[in-house]
């Protein structure tokens, strides 16, 4: 019988009523009295020397209040990078400056040059078009390998080359791995591209700067996944505003997928302009603008090699990846192809020797940073593709080859520096084969054939590292931040609770699930718990939401704070009932003295805490409010197995996803309905990557896929109903809820399933030379592959 409330129940989302009735409050819905409007003048070329900006005509246009150029930002800091990677020779990465407005050079189409502020948005936009920019065009560098050639134009003149870093992991294993390859019975090699994607949260970014000159308080309203991080980065590194004089508010946010983690130039620019003008300044990104300014994702070019013995045991794995950083280092960019990618290369398998080499490269393109999965989809894709290829080469069933190499003993220390606490990869594979009805595949294949269609089945596994992250560990790895989370639980006199969390919800439903957890712990109805997030003024310092960390890290902080509340409430109850706190039991929101019929209600205790007439004032402070910070001991390791069935039209190469199944182990689950939804969304993004999406630049560095007319977002008729299951649960051993995180799994596990399925379909149809097709698997690519 499914639970009807608390942990494990599919409680309906309390967020939904406001979203379904048009009463959400997104950043663009906010309009402040006296507000001015901003429009940015942006580079229309990918690379050029910026010789001058003439604002005279524009400044005289109707409604224009002021036009800011880089000269106005002298004394303002650049946008900081939050992670320093050390290269394989022990040297720090090359770290270029990142000014708020371009100075000296423009480095990608969309690089901001000037900020026009006017009374209305239309006036600002009209004036922006009248700003004259003198740019001497330079040859752009776009291809990563060409960017590293001798004599290539440099994106940053003050760096020695376009190489950000050359990272080796684990460097000490390099020779041992090479030797294992020399001795291997069989080596499978695969060259592949994990193409650049554009995150495309449906809400474009918005930033509103506000300034009260009488109190010297600044406020930024922004579409962010982590308002405290923005406050710290912008306040301390860019504008020099102390945190107590700067408030950052991220209200309802319309999706993030990583792209709203980062501190963007526009946030600093409008906050700065508001201080200068002493009035609010609002900027709303157009979708066209977001295509050339939101940090993009993936963009890896990889060669992967897998060494196997005669029985199919994996002996060693070696990869060489070129990772595109774009024109500047976005906030967490250096960590994505390294620590969030190299550490996942063991996958679900006991490969004893692994070496990962990553060369990060600057190019004249939009910066690249975390996008749903962030490094882990790139690791999973290459690993699960090379295993499929190896299975074909050695004539073994791909599922059997995987099972043969599964890690089965836990905890398991991988050769790439992480220790998996729990998992059961055979269980998720068994569950997958059942829910995907793999046994029925042959019949469906025959039915497709009868209609003249090819059919293929792709199966793969994935593992990810979530619950980011133990601060002491990431500090050693170059993070310039801690990655704990926080919660304050405030109990009111009449018994209701307000939980203020450092996590941020932008679609994940925290207001519902977090309330389920706290209500369950005390035994109260969920509607007695309110969740507050997204405003630095009323939440404790927190690191925000990304990397599937909210419940594992933020939820753990909330559990810690709630346990403190319960401990204190138990003492108050003991006093009220003249018993020992050790004898007090809490059940269904009622305190009882064990073995007696004496009890007090939750509300009696909370009232006593705030009206302490009968209260142990000598031992306890009045009030009932506790804060906790939680810093995890380890990452969490969700894992699972995915299966995709496709049909391919042999005439056109068009691929349709006919069936998709996902068996995930997320550990314990608080709200199964929400977890299903997270997986669904991830799968669609993965199918989008596999079949549809690609950020394409032309030879001049112009983004060809700069709107929804050219960038193929998955639509309702591109995807099927999915079959998802998370009944295989090996709870996390090191957080109090035993949860692992579910936000990214779908996007990590699904691309290889789709590509494996298409290759399978082509192989079954006799196209035995087709061992790989690069994503997206458009009809033309698949058709070309079938022509040999």
């Amino acid at each position: 019988m499914p639970k009807d409330h608390g942990i494990g129940a599919s409680s309906k989302r309390r967020e939904d009523v406001r979203f379904l009735t048009g009463r959400g409050r997104y950043t663009d819905d906010i309009n402040l009295p006296g507000q001015a409007h901003a429009c940015f003048v942006r580079s229309q070329v990918a690379h050029g020397r910026l010789n001058g900006v003439n604002t005279a005509d524009a400044a005289a246009m109707p409604g224009v209040i002021r036009i800011f150029t880089a000269a106005d930002f002298e004394g303002v800091g650049g946008l900081p990078c939050g992670w320093q990677v050390t290269d394989r020779h022990g040297a720090p990465m090359q770290e270029p400056g990142h000014p708020v407005l371009a100075t000296g050079k423009v480095r990608h189409v969309g690089d901001p040059i000037a900020l026009v502020v006017a009374e209305t948005y239309d006036q600002a936009r009209d004036a922006a078009e009248a700003v004259v920019v003198d740019i001497e065009e330079l040859e752009p560098v776009l291809d990563m390998k060409a960017a590293l050639a001798d004599g290539a134009p440099k994106v940053h003149d003050d760096l020695t080359s376009n190489l950000c870093y050359d990272w080796g992991f684990v460097e000490e294993n390099r020779e041992a791995v090479n030797k294992a390859f020399e001795a291997a019975h069989h080596v499978t090699t695969l060259d592949l591209v994990n193409q650049r994607l554009i995150p495309n949260a449906m809400e474009p970014r918005v930033a509103i700067g506000d300034y009260n000159f009488a109190t010297d308080d600044s406020t930024l309203y922004t579409t962010s996944q982590n308002p405290h991080v923005i406050r710290l980065l912008m306040g301390a590194f860019v504008l020099g505003i102390p945190e107590h004089k700067l408030r950052v508010v991220a209200p309802d946010v319309g999706g993030g997928f990583g792209s709203k983690i980062f501190h963007y130039a526009e946030e600093a620019a409008v906050t700065f302009a508001a201080r200068q003008l002493r009035r609010p300044v609002k900027w709303t990104c157009t979708r066209s603008e977001s295509f050339i300014t939101d940090a993009q994702g993936r963009d890896h070019v990889t060669k992967i090699e897998l060494a196997l013995d005669a029985e199919g045991h994996f002996q060693a794995l070696r990869t060489e990846t070129y990772a595109n950083m774009g024109a500047y280092l976005s906030t967490f960019a250096p960590s994505i192809p390294t620590w969030l990618h190299g550490t996942l290369m063991a996958g679900n398998y006991k490969t004893p020797l692994i070496y990962v080499n990553v060369k990060a490269v600057f190019t004249n393109t939009v910066p690249v940073d975390a996008y749903r999965g962030a490094g882990r989809p790139e690791a999973t894709f290459q690993l699960e593709r090379v295993i499929d290829k190896a299975a074909r080469e050695i004539g073994m069933d791909p599922v059997e080859l995987r099972r043969k190499n599964f890690i089965t003993q836990f905890p398991y220390a991988t050769p790439v520096a992480v220790e998996y606490d729990t998992g059961d990869y055979n269980a998720t594979m068994d569950k997958l084969l059942e829910i995907a009805d793999v046994a029925g595949f042959e019949a469906r294949l025959a039915e497709s054939k009868a209609r003249g269609k090819l059919r293929g089945l792709g199966v793969n596994c994935y593992i990810e590292a979530c619950g980011i992250a133990p601060s002491h560990l990431v500090g050693q790895l170059g993070a310039r931040a801690g990655l704990y989370e926080s919660a304050t639980v405030r109990v009111n006199a009449t018994g209701g609770l307000v939980v203020m969390t450092g996590s941020h919800s932008h679609g994940q439903g925290h207001e519902t699930t977090f309330a389920q957890v706290v209500a369950d712990m005390i035994g109260l109805p969920e509607n007695m718990v309110e969740i507050v997030h997204g405003d630095t003024a009323n939440t404790p310092m927190g690191m925000g939401t990304y990397g599937s960390r909210s419940l594992a890290v933020g939820g753990s902080a909330m559990v810690k704070a709630t346990n403190k509340i319960i401990a204190k409430a138990r003492k108050i109850a003991a006093h009220l009932m003249e018993a020992s706190p050790d004898d007090i039991e809490l059940k269904d929101g009622r305190f009882t003295v064990a073995g007696t019929d004496k009890s007090v209600a939750w509300g009696d205790v909370t009232l006593a805490a705030y009206v302490p007439h009968n209260y142990p004032l000598e031992d306890l402070e009045p009030g009932l409010e506790e804060t906790a910070f939680y810093d995890p001991n380890n990452f969490t390791y969700p894992a699972g197995a995915y299966a995709c069935e496709v049909e391919v039209d042999p005439e056109t190469g068009r691929v349709t996803v006919e069936r998709f199944a996902a068996a995930d182990d997320f550990g314990n689950v608080v709200n199964p309905m929400i977890v299903d939804g997270q997986v669904h969304g991830g799968i669609a993004q993965g199918i989008g990557q596999a079949l549809l999406e690609s950020a394409a630049y032309d030879e001049y560095g112009q983004l060809l896929t700069g709107s929804y007319m050219d960038y193929a977002m998955p639509r309702a008729d591109d995807v099927p109903f999915y079959t998802v299951d998370h009944s295989c649960q090996t709870p996390c051993t090191h957080n109090p809820l035993g949860v692992k995180g579910c936000g990214e799994a779908g996007a990590i596990g699904s691309p290889p399933a789709v590509v494996n399925a298409v290759v399978d379909a082509l192989q079954r149809a006799g196209h035995t030379g087709v061992t790989h097709i690069d994503m997206p698997l458009t009809p033309s690519r698949v058709w070309a592959a079938m022509q040999g």
Binding site: D4, H5, A9, S10, S11, K12, R13, D16, V17, R18, F19, L20, T21, G22, G24, R25, Y26, D28, D29, N31, D122, N200, A201, M202, E203, P204, D252, V253, G254, G255, F257, R287, S288, G507, Q508, G509, P525, E526, N527, P672, M673, I674, D676, G677, H680, G681, G682, A684, S707, Y708, M709, M713, P714, R715, A716, D717, V719, F721, V724, G746
Partner: protein, 166 residues
């Protein structure tokens, strides 16, 4: 500036607009009806869908002046007269057909227009009709399911549903 008059969610409204003012701008900035969202500038994403004289249209590519005298309905006017969620809205909540909520107003308005034309659409018909509405969160599974449920179809085979809490 020109005066425009229309009925929005049953109420007569008027305002001064420029020739270039879009219906979405008039609703959001002129009337403060911020439930209608703008997610793109090429008329592709569908977050801005409203009903004009009963027809689902993209308000980001409709001029406010074109709606002179029209009956306009937005997401703010979709609930039942007593304020409770309408059948479609309730189905979206029951079947978790929304996550971040940004595309949701357009999805609800589009779904409502579909059901007015086709009271029991098939899965394929729903997916085809939603072609002009992009959602990045849900993978469409629960949106399609919610619309099927709102039309009275059995969706119990399509995965977990909300259990009424409290």
């Amino acid at each position: 500036m020109t005066k425009v008059t229309m009925t929005v969610n049953g109420k007569a409204v008027s305002g001064e607009v420029e020739g270039r003012t879009l219906l979405s701008q008039f609703l959001r900035d002129g009337l403060g009806l911020t439930g209608t969202h703008v997610g793109c500038d090429t008329s592709q994403c569908g977050a801005c869908v409203v009903h004009v004289n009963g027809q689902d249209v993209k308000s980001c590519t409709t001029l406010a002046l074109e709606c002179e005298g029209a009956e306009v309905r937005t997401i703010e006017g979709m609930a039942n007269p007593d304020g409770s969620l309408s059948v479609i809205q309730q189905a979206f909540q029951d079947h978790h057909g929304l996550q971040c909520g940004f595309c949701t107003p357009g999805m609800v308005m589009t779904a409502s227009a579909l059901l007015a034309q086709n009271p029991t659409p098939s899965e394929a018909e729903i997916r085809h009709y939603l072609e002009g509405n992009i959602c990045r969160c849900t993978g469409y599974h629960n949106i399609v399911k919610a619309i099927m449920a709102a039309s009275g179809q059995d969706v119990s085979h399509l995965g977990s549903d909300a259990i009424a809490a409290e």
